[in-house]
């Protein structure tokens, strides 16, 4: 055979011979290329930039691509290190048969090149076929206008090529380093190594529990405030490190405690199980913690995605209760009749109709809230370090709500968009008011009990007189003029609505006393676009996380299978029946593989409060909805996990059985 062809031929053989472990590796690699290419294509396409309101989707996609790069690299490197460990013996044999290390390195280079090419070809082909579909899906989810022209992007191709060249390059370098470091003898015998006791077992175990406890505590006690996203990342980091330590030392330490109790340990049912579990835990710690972390990520991503999807309507309802909110400074703004005419005139022009219009005047006061005391703030303080209360006149209130309420001068109605205040009286500056009623709802605002971050406060007072006195007392902390607020919804075409609000906006800006206009139509579209983008990314990341965990699980099953092959036989010879051996090994395998799921579900439960709070920050207040989504996702994921377990365990039993037939074959030859 031509010497030039020997090495590539050996590498093809190497890949084919290890097909059971390389096939999933290539599949996972191709899928990674596919996803990466799709993200890069969408980002690289000019159309995306020309679409109105695409900025959220673009920003999310960009973050998504970076995260993708960060996740895929360690994952592929991990898979590669597993593969190369399994092949130690084969490589050792080559080196003993006379291949130099540099030949082996060249062979590894060929292998990497072959795998890289296969992965790129499959991934890019699928990418080309499906990227347009994915693009349309993204546009659809983000409610952006559908554009049909989406073509192949060379930039996306180069990005994908470079990224995966780097990833597989790193793998190749690591493989070569491994080959050069190893002695042939190590390579031959390296496959079987005793388990090493982790260093500082007890310290690590305790610190792991402490870290987990800290992460859990942060999550469970988290409140809706400006620190929540920071705290979330802190909790996630703590839990990730804690999980690793828990599997590395926590579980082994627990098993060691059981083992050191000879009354428990030297029982027929426990003896084999405890020491078997201890052995497996030590070998599998990193795989198990990775499976656990990927499971948690998949569950939480799915949970968030589903909640976001189901909760979009309620988010829009809270964020933008009205299609337009126009605020004028009441003292400067004069001509209401002209405004009314203009609103109707523009509505006709845009072919929309105004519904549910509400007008009212309110007085804004800056105050410092302490219990039921609303104090006058220090002169130099700004709106950022004080709270806002809005005073509404009883007449306006009655008109808006269509009621006939009455109030004495020392009485008020109060309303907050957050949890009920439940005060009988409140103190505004130096004046004390009796709370005649706390309102459950109001046409001008939305209420949610868990909206605890900067809720709005409204107070209905009996007369202008009362309002003026308060204004005098609050002085500079009071807005100079009163605010005249118009809120309404629209019916008609989405485009027409947006145009209408924009034209109203530009007219209002030219009017004296114009203060602010909120375009609820655009706001809703923004929410739709952001949620759609998150949904898109969420779907892909859930798939990626699941893929990672299935592959790790699959590789773990292979390793366990090879290890158990020998143990099966020994235990039988020492006096366990076939059924006993199978029973105990199945029990151990189940415990090993389901422990990450149990911990992942535990993580999710602990993190649930925090997830709810973060959704609150996005104005999604339906805790019930999120709980329902959580239960659905947890159930779904458990089924999926069980399915991939039983699927991958076939490989395990295949390997163990293969040993049996091997032995039978040997006997039949003997």
């Amino acid at each position: 055979m031509n010497k030039l062809l020997l090495l590539p031929k050996l590498s093809v053989m190497g890949i084919r011979k290890n097909g059971t472990s390389y096939f999933p590796y290539i599949m996972a690699g191709s899928f990674s290329v596919f996803i990466f290419f799709v993200f890069a294509s969408i980002l690289a396409n000019d159309i995306m930039y020309t679409l109105p309101r695409s900025s959220y989707a673009l920003m999310l996609m960009r973050i998504g691509q970076i995260l993708l790069g960060l996740i895929l690299l360690p994952f592929i490197v991990y898979a590669n290190s597993f593969l190369i460990k399994r092949r130690k013996k084969e490589l050792g044999l080559y080196s003993i048969l006379g291949l130099d290390k540099k030949h082996i390195a060249a062979m590894m280079a060929w292998e990497s090149l072959i795998i890289f090419s296969i992965v790129m070809i499959i991934g890019i082909t699928f990418g080309l076929v499906f990227s347009k579909l994915m693009f349309l899906m993204l546009l659809n989810l983000t409610s952006l206008s559908v554009s049909a022209s989406f073509g192949f992007s060379p930039v996306a191709f180069y990005q994908t090529l470079l990224y995966f060249l780097a990833v597989y390059g790193i793998n190749l370098v690591m493989n070569i380093i491994r080959v050069f470091r190893a002695k042939p003898n190590d390579l031959l015998t390296g496959a079987k190594k005793g388990d090493r006791e982790p260093k500082h077992l007890w310290l690590t175990a305790v610190s792991g529990l402490v870290l987990l406890g800290m992460g859990y505590t942060i999550s469970i006690t988290s409140k809706l405030d400006s620190m929540i996203f920071m705290n979330f990342f802190l909790a996630v980091s703590l839990v990730i490190i804690g999980t690793h330590q828990f599997f590395k030392a926590g579980l082994p330490a627990f098993l060691k405690i059981l083992k050191s109790n000879s009354r428990i340990y030297y029982k027929k049912t426990n003896f084999v199980t405890i020491s078997g579990m201890l052995h497996r835990m030590k070998k599998s710690a990193s795989s198990l913690s990775n499976i656990c972390i990927f499971s948690t990520m998949a569950i939480i991503t799915l949970l968030c995605t589903l909640s976001l999807w189901r909760g979009t309507d309620s988010m829009m309802y809270f964020q933008n209760p009205f299609d337009a909110v126009i605020i004028f400074n009441d003292t400067e703004f004069g001509n209401r009749a002209e405004l009314d005419n203009k609103l109707l005139e523009l509505a006709d022009a845009s072919n929309v109709k105004i519904t549910g219009r509400i007008d009212y005047t309110c007085q804004v006061l800056l105050t410092v809230i302490n219990g039921n005391t609303f104090a006058v703030p220090e002169p130099e303080s700004t709106a950022y370090d004080s709270d806002v209360i809005r005073l509404i006149l009883l007449d306006d209130y009655n008109a808006m709500e269509n009621t006939n309420e009455t109030l004495d001068d020392n009485e008020v109605f109060i309303f907050t968009s957050g949890p009920d205040l439940k005060y009988d009286r409140i103190i505004l500056g130096t004046k004390t008011f009796d709370v005649k009623k706390e309102l459950d709802s109001a046409v001008f605002s939305r209420k949610a009990d868990n909206n605890t971050f900067n809720p709005e406060y409204y107070m209905v007072v009996s007369s202008t007189d009362v309002m003026d006195k308060l204004l005098a007392e609050f002085g500079s902390a009071a807005d100079r003029g009163r605010r005249y607020t118009i809120m309404f919804n629209l019916t008609g075409q989405e485009n027409g609505k947006d145009n209408y609000v924009n034209s109203v906006s530009s007219w209002c800006e030219s009017q004296p006393g114009f203060y602010n206009l909120t375009n609820g139509v655009a706001g809703k579209l923004r929410t739709l676009s952001m949620n759609g983008g998150l949904l898109f990314i969420g779907i892909f990341f859930s798939i990626i996380f699941t893929m990672c965990l299935v592959l790790i699980m699959y590789y773990k099953q292979i390793t366990e299978g090879y290890d158990d092959r020998d143990n099966f036989d020994i235990m039988q010879k020492v006096g366990m029946s076939d059924a006993e051996v199978k029973g105990t090994i199945r029990k151990q395998i189940l415990m090993v593989f389901y422990s990450p799921l149990v911990i992942a579900l535990l993580h999710t439960m602990a993190g649930f409060n925090m997830i709810v709070r973060m959704f609150n920050a996005l104005s999604l207040f339906g805790t019930g909805l999120i709980i329902r989504c959580g239960l659905i996702v947890a159930a779904l994921f458990t089924v999926l996990y069980g399915f991939s377990y039983s699927y991958t365990s076939r490989t395990y039993y295949g390997i163990v059985k293969q040993m049996k037939t091997d032995v039978a074959a040997e006997r039949s030859i003997a």
């Binding site: 003896f271 143990n567 020492v574 006096g575 074959a665 039949s668 003997a670």
Partner: protein, 255 residues
């Protein structure tokens, strides 16, 4: 009555496709008395391992009968086989077959734990055994931390701790260097002197020369046997060598 009686045992394997039939054992007959030390010799492929697996109840004979203390092994139901092995047989294998997840001590305890023996009783039995086999120092170590000789002595301790009726040894010195081999063989001889019945399969002349009787298997039959009588190990060695030469040349004639 002999401790172990093997009557006309046959084993036929059919290849997976059902075509060729391979006769691994062709009617083996012999018996072992209590307290005997028997070595079974033969070239590779002679059927030694098949025979041992059948004696160990891991495999079942196609035909023939095996009696241990008069009890026919074929009458033991499948689900009781494990317990039967545990209670009556001790195994020493060429590749030690120790479990890496147990310490040396726990490896030795394994059959007793499976039989539900109390810890005190296990410790009581282990102590003299460990002293005799010279493994007291390594009891808390793991198999991958000790030498091959120590592993095999551990395996021997595991085989002996159940006080088996018979110890079955499959090439016990096969994976050991000569020093560790001779130490193990000496131990086997001592144990045998104390009354333990040993049946050892080997193709090492040196190992066989320690036995009280050597059976030669060829083409699935017992071909010849030698009794030690009062001969020394060295004399035994010569006798075995001579016998092997005869068998090989005799075999040539048969072909």
């Amino acid at each position: 009555m002999a401790l172990l009686e093997v009557n006309n045992v046959k084993k036929v394997y059919s290849t997976r496709l059902g075509g060729n039939k391979v006769h691994a054992l062709n009617g083996v007959t012999f018996s072992v008395e209590k307290g005997e030390y028997v070595a079974i010799m033969g070239e590779s492929g002679a059927g030694k391992t098949t025979l041992l697996n059948i004696l160990a109840t891991i495999d079942r004979p196609t035909d023939g009968q095996i009696l241990l203390e008069g009890k026919d092994l074929a009458t033991i139901p499948q689900r009781e086989l494990a317990a039967f092995r545990r209670d009556n047989l001790g195994f020493v294998f060429q590749d030690f077959n120790l479990l890496d997840n147990f310490t040396i001590q726990d490896n030795i305890f394994l059959p007793l734990v499976l039989a539900g023996t109390p810890l005190e009783e296990m410790k009581r039995r282990l102590e003299p055994l460990a002293r005799k086999l010279g493994i007291e120092e390594i009891l808390q170590k793991y198999p991958y931390e000790v030498s091959g000789g120590e592993k095999q002595r551990t395996a021997t301790a595991r085989a002996l701790i159940t006080n088996p009726k018979i110890v079955l040894a499959d090439e016990p010195t096969g994976a050991l260097d000569s020093k560790a081999s001779s130490r193990l063989l000496k131990l086997f001889a001592e144990i045998n002197k104390e009354g333990q019945t040993i049946l050892m399969v080997t193709h090492s002349i040196n190992a066989a020369s320690h036995a009280g009787r050597v059976l030669f298997i060829k083409d699935g039959c017992v071909f010849h046997q030698i009794y030690r009588g009062n001969a020394s190990n060295e004399e035994m060695y010569t006798m075995i060598t001579d016998a092997l030469t005869v068998i090989q040349t005799g075999g040539m004639k048969n072909e």
